[in-house]
Symmetry: D2
Amino acid sequence: MSNFHIKYGETVLIWDEEKKKSFLFVLKQGGELGTHKGKILHDDIAGKIEGSVVLSSTGARFRIFRPFVADKMMKVQRKTQIVYPKDAAWLVLSMDIKPGMRIIEMGTGSGAFTILLAQLVGPEGKIYTYDRREDFLENAKANIRKAGLEDRVVFGLLNAGEPFPVKDVDAVFLDLPEPWLAIVPAWDSLVPGKALAIIVPTAEQLKKSVEVLIDTGFAVMDVVEILERKILVRKKEGVRPFEKMIGFTGYLIYARKLIK
Amino acid sequence: MSNFHIKYGETVLIWDEEKKKSFLFVLKQGGELGTHKGKILHDDIAGKIEGSVVLSSTGARFRIFRPFVADKMMKVQRKTQIVYPKDAAWLVLSMDIKPGMRIIEMGTGSGAFTILLAQLVGPEGKIYTYDRREDFLENAKANIRKAGLEDRVVFGLLNAGEPFPVKDVDAVFLDLPEPWLAIVPAWDSLVPGKALAIIVPTAEQLKKSVEVLIDTGFAVMDVVEILERKILVRKKEGVRPFEKMIGFTGYLIYARKLIK
Amino acid sequence: MSNFHIKYGETVLIWDEEKKKSFLFVLKQGGELGTHKGKILHDDIAGKIEGSVVLSSTGARFRIFRPFVADKMMKVQRKTQIVYPKDAAWLVLSMDIKPGMRIIEMGTGSGAFTILLAQLVGPEGKIYTYDRREDFLENAKANIRKAGLEDRVVFGLLNAGEPFPVKDVDAVFLDLPEPWLAIVPAWDSLVPGKALAIIVPTAEQLKKSVEVLIDTGFAVMDVVEILERKILVRKKEGVRPFEKMIGFTGYLIYARKLIK
Amino acid sequence: MSNFHIKYGETVLIWDEEKKKSFLFVLKQGGELGTHKGKILHDDIAGKIEGSVVLSSTGARFRIFRPFVADKMMKVQRKTQIVYPKDAAWLVLSMDIKPGMRIIEMGTGSGAFTILLAQLVGPEGKIYTYDRREDFLENAKANIRKAGLEDRVVFGLLNAGEPFPVKDVDAVFLDLPEPWLAIVPAWDSLVPGKALAIIVPTAEQLKKSVEVLIDTGFAVMDVVEILERKILVRKKEGVRPFEKMIGFTGYLIYARKLIK
């Protein structure tokens, strides 16, 4: 059984019941959170149980939660586009992620997907994440530390096309402007039969990636895009999809390493 | 590092390079697999490495893989509709599944989603899965045994509305004709703040579920449907979505337990 | 051949080449149009040919067009939600609209769909459009007058459920909060075999409408929603769908009148 | 008022109430129609009113209709892919089609879209349709004759890139493997400001078309794809989208002619 009561030092998610808006922050003695509906005192949260109410200075009702992994992903300090939860979820399943796996990721970006991978491989797994930019790595490190997962992640500075320093990994994920440059290194580092997954924003990058995958010795198992359609459910007005939606975030590829 | 060579007794996935068609079966000494392109001898597979080629009796090239969890899900013996990987992936992320969790699922159905949950909670986690039909449970048990995950799964016969025999679980998932009947039992069994997820096929069931969730003391965090659009990538003809697509599989709800 | 040169008194569409933003206005001697990129003098447009350039006071390039029917629809003075072109187009085809037809529409709303219907039935057709609100009718009249189509449209004040004053029409279209109230009147006014089309925003309204259609003596031929996905095509960055999209505007029904 | 009673020589649509399946045929004295539910005698239909019932030899109930334009489009004798009604509808609106217009279409294909254009321009309009293949033109001619619209259509044999024999047309539509070849001829034949619309199946063809449009002197107003999602509405089981859907038919472009 988990320890129910929230303590100082923990990361907390505050959720506005009415507007469905949420805030993520670290709970500090004497701290204050400014919201669109007045201030919330950290001391009013400490010692409470998840799911309970905290009132803001204007009397607005907020709910207290510990963040889920998707909350942490969405709330990272962003220096880049992130892999959205809807795509991340599909990728995780396609790459057959499970506890204990060793996984290469490149580029690290803001570390949102790294957080999910690190959560899923558990304390015995390891994520090796690479980026060509020192500043992205530093930012991602801070994000992953905030998520409490830094002991499962190894960071490295690397350019696309350079060999990965680790071998016999169970999966590789590429999120790069020119992912095809890293496909041969990915093949070299993967256990036979295991998955390489890629996200790309355009049809041209998709085509080039698939061509290089086939030429390098991968079986291209699936190419998709994922659309998440949010549904509005209201007692009086009834059920219908929301008027606005995110129309596109990227094409997703999943391939498996072949041997001659 | 995994043991690369495939042995008798293992479950194997055979993939037709040209047609992208795959077959799942247990490797047996002297065994034979009939395909749309002739026979494949099990003895030609034993001892090979994942990703290598096996030829059928007609000379067709197949690739040898160990199945991924999504392959196992799609290839269960079906006595019911299954939760499709695209939906399962979203649910897993929304429920914040991680190693070591204890999860309630109802109904078990054919056990496809059970397999995914069991893989992700790892050897220290546990899935408590309930169904009102003995025959579904028996079939699901066989599917989960084939997936090698039976030691992480506890099965139980239960009608919707009856209390769940386990308490303080980290997540609950409902896939029932009348999921609202199981919402109060789910609240009773969940750790505060943790997730209840539901899949339903129609707008009416969606509405009723959301209403009962709110009345019972849940925060409804998200309601979506997930569309997976497969993309055709061909060297000569170019990139475009496939002409056929699965248009709908269900509405997905994710809520978190509140306390007074 | 049409008269190419644009004259004072005509409605003109000005299109910003760079931002793809457009403005609709009536050309007046001495007039000025304020844009996000400076002023445009009406006198710089008069006498020009469609497709030619006009420069704003800041030197920005705009293109001169006569508005298409979809421009007129999108630019009506709105007092209500309008039927969007993507839905309007589907409805027109489903209702088998053609020159010379006599059509009932209820409610008129802002008159956007009325404009399209009036254009397509031509000078020999007639649109009978009804609304329960005088102010909507007045606003719609002004919009349709601006579109130059007022001689093809007859306006009437009517509550849902009241009989339509015209009979033997070739099609009926309903855009109402409670369209089922007008289904019997629609049956009474339609030529046998002809189409009744309905747009509704929620699943509940859809269900009730379909049930009343069947009970009244209609064959429900098709129920759909239309998603328009805008695609970004850029020389350097390549092809991909836009990140934002309109996720939902309504469910569309098309039925045909049966006789006993 | 239309002539209600159906006569020999007319094209009739028979609709299976239960299966929603339909048949299109010309009514002949003594004729018989074989269906999945037994025979229907043409003589049982002649003299009836649209919307009335005819029984098959097995007692199954069918409804009698005159076909709508979308029925005619879907039921053409196909020698090629056709432009589907959902796309055709969008194109018609984007091209600002109205009674009296003169329109160029290339290629003719099976003539499905030609039928719609011919219906909408009315008896005073004209469709000039070109194809490089004599056999396609012959087949399309037969389809358009069956639709009763042959007097509004002029057919011509033409290769992509050759100048169109007519000038000052109000719209041009291209449905070709290499539409860019016909963009300069389209510019030459169009009235300034008027629309050129194109349908293409792949991202690569889309990109090339857009590039040539811009280079030739067109304003690219919109690039979209249209998804039609069919909704299942059942009294008992409730409302949800169909499980199967057509995932893709083509990218649609609409541009307007510019002058220097």
